[in-house]
């Protein structure tokens, strides 16, 4: 079956710590025999097991042990054997539980001091988690059954995935459309005529202005470049000039936060190049 070939060094060291040793290989493999596949990087989710707790629960069931009195050495050994067989020895979640089992096993071996009542079973937390997980599995069974029941009956239409109802198609007659157009035309009977005058931008002028300022001061702010009462064409010229200079690598533009004044800085790296 190539168990040792597939085993990673991590699992090896974990198992050595358990004291199970190579003898574990002779333990009879449990029911679901794995396919003899070449070891692949990560086999995280097998269809058979939804996680390490699932695997552990199925072990407890297979071994027919009492969950409140888990023979931790036996179960830990079986758990390690299974994650090797299922090639899960790379999946961190399985390894984590394996390590936890071994720690509980070690704690169980420690001599108990004092009164029996003060001794806290190291398995208690694991049992609590297993019971919680088992509880959830029962809910899964219920949901699965209910889901299958519902899936076996069709509603009148496909259920939209998002649950949102599509917009109703626009219902409009030609008459209504013409009335609407007529109403609009009547409102705008006398359209306002705008005279649009083309204004040429002076990008070259703005560029030389910025260059002069930056050469003298190294930094500047947008508010200093554009006068408060600037005409739109002036603002646009300045904007294009700044973008052009930034593109040429002559300066850097930064805005510390939205709507803050743009900070313009001389770009020394551009100069070097």
């Amino acid at each position: 079956m190539g168990l040792s070939a597939a085993a990673s060094t991590v699992t090896d060291s974990v198992e050595d710590g358990s004291g199970a040793g190579p003898a574990a290989d002779h333990v009879e493999p449990p029911a679901p025999s794995p396919e003899p596949v070449a070891p692949v990087g990560f086999v995280v989710d097998l269809p058979a097991f939804a996680g390490p707790l699932d695997l552990l629960l199925s072990l407890i069931r297979d071994e027919k042990v009492d969950i409140y009195d888990i023979p931790i050495a036996r179960i830990a050994k079986q758990f390690l054997l299974r994650i090797r067989m299922l090639q899960l020895n790379d999946a961190a979640e399985y390894l984590e539980l394996a390590a936890r089992l071994l720690r509980i096993k070690a704690q169980m071996l420690l001599p108990r001091h004092g009164e029996a009542e003060t001794w806290e079973d190291p398995r208690a937390e694991l049992v609590r988690r297993l019971l919680e997980y088992q509880q959830m599995r029962e809910v899964v069974d219920i949901l699965e059954r209910r889901g299958d029941e519902r899936r076996s009956r069709f509603a009148r239409a496909y259920l939209p995935e998002s649950g949102e109802l599509a917009l109703a198609p626009l219902a409009l007659s030609l008459g209504e459309l013409l009335t609407a157009i007529d109403r609009i035309l009547r409102v705008t009977r006398e359209p306002t005529v705008h005279t649009v005058v083309a204004r040429t931008l002076d990008v070259a002028g703005a560029i030389s202005l910025v260059r002069n300022l930056i050469a003298a001061r190294r930094t500047a702010r947008w508010g200093e470049l554009v006068a408060r009462d600037a005409e739109p064409w002036q603002i646009l010229s300045m904007l294009l000039a700044l973008l052009e200079l930034a593109k040429l690598g002559e300066l850097r533009l930064a805005q510390p936060r939205p709507f803050a004044s743009v900070e313009i800085e001389h770009d020394s790296t551009g100069e070097a190049a």
Binding site: A50, L97, Y158, G163
Partner: protein
């Protein structure tokens, strides 16, 4: 059938999703809740007793007309409609935990399942079975998830309380009575 039952039938037929009772009431403002309930009963009986291929089901806090299960295979074979995909075991586990513990954060779900659930939460949210319902207090204010109405619909639940209470569960692993 009485006119009110016919009206409800027409509305239920027109809708692709379960209609909540209050929306049914809006169809007939003069009818009392008792009359609506009685009409729904009439309609259900009509489908059951007279032998129809559809039935009236109470699902996700509303009412819906569904085809009867015995015809599903034939309908699917004829490719008239397709059953939605089943959820994976991992997705169902995650959904089960959220259904019982909502509002619940990712870390708590992972604690119970023992595996990472980030991508599963995302796909459940994309399928509109869960949604973010708030943020927890504490470090990072993690997102809290809860189930949606569509969850109830897809699992044929009238409401969340229809799931068994937590203390009614976890019987499978109770220790078998052992002589001490």
């Amino acid at each position: 059938m009485i006119p009110l039952a016919k009206l409800l039938e027409a509305a239920l037929f027109a809708s692709a999703r379960p209609i909540p009772v209050d929306e049914l009431s809006a169809l007939a403002p003069d009818a009392s809740p008792a009359e609506i309930a009685a009409s729904l009963d009439t309609l259900r009986e009509h489908y059951d007793v007279d032998g129809h291929g559809v039935e009236l089901a109470e699902i996700g806090g509303g009412w819906q007309i569904l085809t009867r299960a015995e015809y599903t295979e034939a309908i699917e074979r004829a490719q008239l409609a397709a059953r939605p995909q089943r959820l994976s075991a991992a997705a169902l586990e995650t959904l089960a935990i959220i259904a019982y513990r909502q509002p619940i954060g990712r870390t708590e779900v992972e604690e119970i399942r023992g595996v990472a659930v980030g991508s599963i939460l995302k796909s459940l949210q994309e399928r509109a079975l869960i949604d973010v319902v708030g943020r927890a207090e504490g470090l990072g204010r993690p997102l809290l998830y809860g189930t949606t109405t569509l969850f109830l619909e897809q699992f044929a639940l009238r409401h969340l309380e229809e799931l068994p209470r937590a203390d009614e569960l976890a019987i499978a692993l109770r220790p078998s009575p052992q002589p001490l």
